[in-house]
């Protein structure tokens, strides 16, 4: 941790409003993207984004610097996601039903997941396909897949966020990727 980060954390622990604003501005985009990919619903991601930063504000005294501040915030965000999904399950709300169609305007129903070169990666359509498939993954697999392949965290960082050994992270990631590939392949037929 650099001395600048240490000073920033010290200011956060003193509840310095400017330091907190700086923290929110620096982390809001990656955390929002992680929440959105996990939940598949923009409104819910927006609400949870606020809750995550409220929790960061409340719990900052408990940050001991064992992991980076970013990893620590990701852990809080992950826990919030898990709790929210438990709550959603209790309300019998299937994740794929809550997919926010507004985000991928113009998307059509399940075209080929592996498009031919001439139609390769038509942004919104591909994104919609991927998001639906991600939403159908097992929660543990989804977390490591989102953190690794979308948020681009290292194995070590994912270990710290999820709190499981590296071997478990790797095997979950492998299973998540294979399951996602299968879902996309099935959608092709």
């Amino acid at each position: 941790m650099t001395s600048r980060e240490e000073r920033h954390i010290q200011r956060l622990k003193q509840r310095d409003p400017a330091a907190f604003e700086e923290l929110v501005r620096a982390h809001q985009t990656p955390i929002f993207n992680m929440l959105y990919r996990m939940l598949g619903n923009r409104e819910e991601a927006e609400d949870l984004l606020q809750e995550v930063f409220v929790a960061v504000f409340k719990q900052i005294d408990g940050f001991r610097g064992e992991a980076s501040l970013t990893t620590w915030i990701y852990r809080i965000a992950t826990n919030h996601c898990i709790n929210r999904q438990k709550y959603n399950r209790r309300r019998a709300q299937h994740a794929s039903e809550s997919w926010d169609a507004n985000h991928s305007a113009g998307a059509e129903a399940m075209p080929s997941p592996f498009p031919q070169p001439d139609e390769a990666l038509e942004g919104a359509r591909m994104e919609r396909r991927l998001q639906i498939a991600i939403s159908e993954l097992d929660e543990e697999q989804r977390i490591v897949l989102v953190l690794r392949d979308i948020q681009n965290l290292s194995y070590e960082e994912i270990e710290q966020v999820v709190g499981v050994p590296g071997g478990t992270v790797k095997s979950r990631l492998h299973r998540a990727r294979m399951a996602l590939k299968e879902k996309l392949t099935r959608g092709e037929g």
């Binding site: 409003p17 809001q28 985009t29 984004l49 409220v54 985000h103 591909m126």
Partner: protein
């Protein structure tokens, strides 16, 4: 080492992340070179991972900072992020009061000094009071009162009138 389809696919994820030994890499690449089915699966796997990392970032709401601060203020019953009690607001109120007091003091001083200067530099130009009145006659032609310019003096007639009174 020869590997079957299942063993090959088990290595896809590690191979993608460069997390395989030299021996595993050589075996997998040899298998993919001779197995069209696994090569196709590998192609799909690679494209899928590439698509995930190529997803465009989504922008959070522009008012996230404001919303979070409001939420904290509400939940802390105004203890944090309360604009009324914030240091900057208190500083602003104190500054305003001081400036106002300074301006009033300045105006007061100005007013006092103006009165002093007026008194010192512009004495009242009051004509001296004449110790006797001038006589006034009636102009018989016009019928108007005319100041004769002559000082009135006490005459015997005046004294006799005072005695009668």
């Amino acid at each position: 080492m020869n590997m079957d389809h299942r063993e090959a696919m088990e290595l896809f994820s590690a191979y993608q992340d460069g997390d395989v030994t030299a021996e595993e890499r050589a075996s997998l690449e040899a298998h993919l070179a001779q197995c069209a089915a696994c090569a196709q699966e590998w192609q799909r796997f690679r494209e899928m991972v590439s698509s995930l990392s190529g997803l465009l970032p989504i922008t959070p709401p522009v008012d996230t900072v404001v919303q979070v601060k409001q939420k904290i203020r509400r939940r802390s019953a105004g203890r944090f992020f309360n604009t009324d009690n914030s240091l900057s607001t208190r500083f602003g109120v104190v500054s305003f009061t001081l400036i106002l007091a300074f301006m009033l003091g300045y105006l007061l001083l100005q007013a006092v000094s103006e009165i002093s200067v007026f008194e010192a530099s512009a004495p009242l130009d009051i004509p001296p009071v004449r110790d006797s009145a001038t006589d006034i006659d009636i102009d018989t032609d016009s019928g108007r009162l005319v100041d004769t310019g002559r000082h009135h003096t006490d005459t015997e007639g005046d004294a006799a009138q005072r005695q009668v009174k």
